[in-house]
Amino acid sequence: MKTGTGNRERGTVRRRSVVFIAALATVLVTTKAAVAQTVAITGGKVYPVSGPPIENGTVLVRNGTIVAVGANVAVPNGATRIDATGKWVTPGLINVLTGLGVTEIGAVPNTVDRAARGDSGIAASFPVWEGINPASTMFAPARNEGITSVVVVPTGGLIAGQAALIDLVPGTVTDMIDKAPVAMVAQFGDARSGGSNARGEQYVRLKELIEDARTYSRRRAEFDRAQTRPFAARRADLEALIPVVEGRLPLMVNADRASDIEAVLRLAREVNVKVIIAGGAESWEVADKLAAANVPVVVGSMANIPESFAALGSRQDTPALLQRARAKVVLIANGSGGEEVFNVRNLKYDAGVAVAYGMSWDDALRAITLTPAEVMGVANRVGSLQAGRDANIVVWSGDPFEFATRVEHVFIRGREVAQPSRQDELMQRYRTFPPAYRRKP
């Protein structure tokens, strides 16, 4: 869970203790369950993900942390019981490709803080989480449908900046941040949008940048005395890249064309950095190579349109094809319509469609819970139901991937969060005509 030490990681925000955060949050928000207490979710079909499903299982939570999961868990006196008989219980879902909190209304620019100006397409130092608005109305729709953590991902340029993993708890930005950064975000293939003019040029720029960051990390004192050659980026950007060159922070690269993905794999070997492929429209074509290199792919299951010349091979069964090749798959929502903000919630439906297109149900659930946690380096805290993990838990009325299924309870760090979204309020207001505010004649 440590993301580094020392002043190299000044940008790193580490989470405070669960108890502290939870206590703070209760002051801000009224929730169903008090914090420092024991909650037992009993009788449900429990999917720990890290282990086999448990019929009639119990999940026991104390002080925000899961303390026991199993078929024979004793429920202490005084515990708050949640009867989940006939329900399904899963870890909270994790969507790793979102603009939550930094995009309120896409078309209103001053509500969007997702893309830095950067310097010639390089914005490695950009900490996207500093712009998160905890009051965003976009959190509730996601949370109310079972999303408990998201990665907030910057966009634009060759190096977009640093992504953060947040829990969707009410509170401040500091409360929400689980780990920041969790990835450095880059793109390869759409050369013209990143200040380059051709793929090869982009490759060389990325390579030079990473090599310069490595050199810089060894020669910072000389740099400060102006005794180094000029580097390919500003000091702050080189500084931010140090965890990447040291292998502590993955480089998440948006790439679609099969050959672009191969180029990223080559680059990763050449400069020795850990990479994640995001987008990955044609990743199925190089699934074996991705599996062999142990490079995860962040991909949706609803994109089958050859919508650009880099994505001619888009297929709906990409997740299944990757899985079959034993590549690591992280599912994201990519159907249509604001899936990185308003429809972050649709992640579960991408999982369902992935199943319809050949992925196993268990693999699909893993691809929206434990696998993203592993890929983002937080599997010791979230993504599964087992003792010692944060109590991010969802109780569903049935199969989480089905449209007719309702979310019944969402626990984040042990607290049940049940705040209506403004959409919920609008629906209640207009549920019957005339709405209450209209004056009766």
Binding site: G106, G338, V341, Y430, R431
Partner: protein, 488 residues
Amino acid sequence: MRIRFAEQAAIGGLVMVLGACAPAQATPATQPRPAAPATQARADTGRPAPGPGAVSTPNADPFPSTYVAPASRATLIRDVTILTAAGPTIRNGSVLLRDGKIAAVGTTVAAPADAEVIDGRGKYVTPGVIDDHSHLGVYAAPGGDALSDGNELTNPVTANVWAEHSVWPQDPQFPRALASGVTTAQILPGSGNLIGGRSVVLKMVPSATVQGMKFPGAKYGLKMACGENPKRVYANRGPSTRMGNVAGYRAAWIQAEAYRRRWDKWTADHQGDAPQRDLGLETLAEVLRGNILVHNHCYRADEMAQMIDIAKEFGYKIRSFHHGVEAYKIADRLAKEGISASLWSDWGGFKMEAMDGVRANLAMVSAAGARAIVHSDDPSGMQRLNQDAAKAMAAGEQIGIHTTEDEAIKWLTINPAWALGLDDRIGSIEVGKNADVVLWSADPFSVYARVDRVWIDGAAAYDRANPATWWRTDFELGNVPLPNGGAK
């Protein structure tokens, strides 16, 4: 990362999106055309007679459909659950497709000896899915300027343009729509203009020409757009405000009414030389005559109410409000006015006027007695209109509005058929209707359902189990890779 939907593309200044249609009563598109005197041969001069383009003729059809239903074998799907969109679900039912039509439907159906018989156990049959809001062909894949033909952003009123003249029949999005059960789609111009031009109704069939895809006898639609898109596009020259938008619509209809009177008078009496023809006003005059249906892109409830008043002021009808993210706020009014609402389940929040989008919109509108339609405006969403409907059903359930599957199936079949003026031919499983039929592997409102087979006019159009028969556009040859490089 990726920009997927037309609305978002619109935000960047590109503008796609659309909406709108309208009117009504009146001259069926199929009626015989009045003879056009100006086209009579000029025997006196020996010069060739001018073509019919010399006069403005109601229901003129200068780009006629060349679609002909292919020959088909009789097909019986039996022991299947049928969502008819015309009545209650038929369990363990059968449906017979013969000579391009639905020949029989019920629990016991006799099939001719030569019919292909399909075992439908565990499966579902529905009418072909109809999307009344698509930009396939006019914003073809792969994207980019070369294939961006959906918004003629040179004037806020471009009633003179016709979407069919932008449609690229080799758009690889067409076969994907078909493979997801869509059999008919209305292709609309975008929403960058107050009045964006004529739509065209296409069948999802391979053809080298758009005429070969056109639904024979379908009325045209007129695309109109409210709100943010036009005022953003024309910020520098106007209209730059919503009040400017409204002034623009009204000015156009004032001109159109004068034009209609001029031509209707001349058509009746042939006194003097024929008036000057104007393509844009001709389209608007056809709306006023009830020959073209108005499809109106409009998000907000207050703007929809204003558009209804404008329609009354000039004597046309709005057939459907498209996008209508706030339709639920005036669902009672829509029901009263007989205006359908073409909606998404869960798009919202991406721009100011979309902020109040709610997932139960379709269910709320439907419950209020208005015609609810699930539409896409997006080549990806177009492939999952059944799923969009399912989301809205579930959201409605959460606020105590129960929608039966028998009702929800209408959202993607007979209701859009009505919006296109084609509900007498398509949109339900009833004897005599065109045999546009989808066989689903499971309940179409389940996330796990896949489309197994599609028939259009009784002819096999898609068979999931038989990839060799799949429609691949010319574009896809050599461009879109196949698994294993296409090796068997």
